[in-house]
Amino acid sequence: MLRRLGLGLAVAAAGIAAGFAPAKAEILKIWGPEQITDPVIADLWNGLKADFEKANPGVTVEFMVPTGTISNGAVQAAIQSDAGPDLVLTNSGVGRVGIVAKAGLVVPLTRYYDERGWKAQLYPWLYDTLKGQFGGEIYEIPDGLDVIGVFYHKDMFAEHGWTMPDSYEGFLKLLGEIKQAGIQPLTVGPRNNANGGHLFGNLLQVSAGRQVVGEVLSGKRPWTDPAMVKGAQRLVDLVAADYVQPQMVGLDLDAAARLWFTKRAAMMVAGPWFTNNARKAGFDMANAGYATMPSDIAGESLATGGVGWSWMLPKTSRHPDLALKWLDYILSDAVMTRRASHQSSWMVYPRALSGLKPTQPVLASVFAAADKGVGYNPSVYMPGNVLEAYMQVIQGLIGGQIGAEAGMAQIDGQMQQAAK
């Protein structure tokens, strides 16, 4: 009797073991998302992680808190560390992606665009842009697009009877009026680089136009092109008029944003992600307005930007197949709609999502600006060695250490060196 019972138990145990044995445990380490330590953002991503793990038994997704970006070398250091991520989500753009692609730190994803249907999940123009960057190879999947323009306080503008003008001359007049009212017209935080590039990119766009900036970035024109120098000179002039203050070189993005959130500054050039900074700072964006910087060139009052954040597959990924599975999941309609509807959402997604209402009113203006087309934010389009010079020159222009022509010549010198 006992023997029979034992045999039965053994058979049952074997059956259970065969039927319910967990798949081989795998950990998918993901670099990002940015601000995963923010509870609101963590809420979204932990939900996505739980659903992915449920659909893939034996898999655990781990988010690594990013310690930086490609621009400051943190991503490269992580990939080369032997304990690095299996998948990276970080700030991108052809310049940044080019750094890791050229160094062989990330693998091409081109063939998966057809094999896994990713091509159909992006705006066609976006796919074409990616295809044209590295001789046909694609090293990234765009996660979000940047649309950089001018944020302002609608209530402050209404109180003083200010409106966003439609010419650069008018814009300068407006800055003068704001200054006279005892308010700092513009704030910028170039100390940790990126935000200086946002303002400068806008100035280049409205001074030179999309086509010229694009030709400069692709090496067809020099950085010393008069239209580009004009953009740099406009920054110098803004500083000379005290519309941008030289001590702002000592501000990072957060410190510059604080000037705007406290209404000590009237305007700040930033992207849709700025609404997230505001939420974290406890600032209500209900009265925030967004406009593109006015230009004297017809049709060139455009936001700047391009691919802002991308997924990349490190060559050191221990679970490339699992990483590809995660990318399929992220690109799915269900996940993208879920992300876009979440309270933390501020992104312009890489494909049209119908029937979605922006989570904040100001984002409607951002999306409308994106529909008009986006100019180039040079920060994300230039090679790495040029980028460092570019950012330092912007600081030098604001700090008065270099003039417009000399600054652009310095960037051009780096550009020529990179082309060799």
Binding site: G73, Q245, P246, V249, G250, A255, E388, Q392, G399
Partner: protein
């Protein structure tokens, strides 16, 4: 009395000779020591000698992608460095940084050690309080001091505006001639606590009767400092100076957190430039060459300083 067996006695005698430095190479004592030395030597070779050798190799072989041979090979990376104006600027600024660190951190440590040693009560409290910044990581120090230096909301400018001293308010991290000085203060604030403790330990080692004798002779405080305290601290000062020089050469974290070498390269040091070359620009060859230059600089400064100290002695 314990009688050792012959072999044990020989080993003991061999060990004694080895310690006295008289053992012949390949002798029994050395053979006995090798198994004990191997783990330490192995770890040292793995984590110190091997990376040094690899850096040397990279400096003469790697191209700007870190992947292949440098164009022109050999000393090409060194030649590129020599023609790079940012390298020379970073080199000059590193020397300035070094001197500032020695003066601020070393000087403040010395002054506070003297002040605390003269206290009748609260010595332990002040010792702990002044040492506290040293346990804070340099990255955190960088963040804290960035807030202090904020030109609009920072503590320093805020205090100056409150006191009506608006003209003294500065862009501490934006003005080209201030930025290195400002960051160095932050970095030295983190470092001086250790030097202070070393000086306090040195002060405690000075024979008290020398102070009594100076007092009896009617020496002033300055004379006592000059003729008793400073000579008594000579060894500690040498050690602190060497330590401060080496720590100064390693200055990186605070700069990286506060300015990343800006504005317009005005706080670029060799260390920050190495990081940029290696990890931002993936120019491993030039970064390795710069590492070699920095190491040679550290060796030259340390050797030079120690020779000077011997001569002075």
């Amino acid at each position: 009395m314990t009688v050792l067996p012959d072999s044990a006695a020989r080993r003991a005698r061999g060990g004694g000779r080895l310690l006295a430095g008289t053992a012949r190479p390949g002798g029994e004592g050395l053979r006995a020591a090798i198994p004990f030395l191997l783990p330490a030597v192995g770890l040292y070779a793995l984590f110190t000698l091997l990376p040094i050798a690899d850096t040397l190799r990279l400096s003469v072989t790697a191209s700007d992608t870190g992947a292949g041979a440098a164009a022109g090979g050999g000393l090409q990376n060194y030649a590129r460095l020599a023609g790079d104006p940012i390298f020379w600027q970073a080199l000059r600024q590193t020397v300035v940084w070094l001197v500032l660190h020695l003066v601020f951190a070393g000087g403040l440590g010395f002054a506070l050690a003297l002040a605390i040693s003269g206290l009748k009560v609260g010595r332990i409290f002040y010792r702990c309080a002044f040492f506290l910044p040293h346990v804070v990581s340099l990255a955190v120090v960088g963040v804290i001091w960035s807030k202090i230096y904020d030109p609009y909301f920072g503590l320093i400018n805020g205090a100056l505006y409150t006191l009506g001293l608006d003209s003294l308010a500065r862009g501490w991290l934006s003005e080209p001639f201030l930025v290195l000085f400002s960051i160095n203060i932050a970095s030295s604030w983190q470092g001086f606590g250790l030097y202070m403790l070393l000086f306090i330990a040195g002060l405690q080692g000075i024979d008290r009767t020398l102070y009594d004798a100076a007092e009896v002779d009617g020496a002033t405080a300055v004379q006592t400092l000059r003729h008793v305290t400073i000579p008594g601290l000579r060894e500690v000062m040498t050690f602190v100076a060497s330590l401060a020089l080496i720590n100064g050469l390693k200055g990186f974290a605070t700069i990286w957190v506060m300015t990343q070498g800006g504005p317009f390269y005005r706080s670029e040091l060799l260390t920050t430039y190495i990081y940029k070359l290696a990890f931002q620009l993936q120019d491993h060859g030039r970064a390795a060459a710069l590492c070699v230059v920095l190491s040679l600089m550290a060796i030259a400064i340390t050797v030079g300083f120690n020779r000077w100290r011997e001569r002075v002695r």
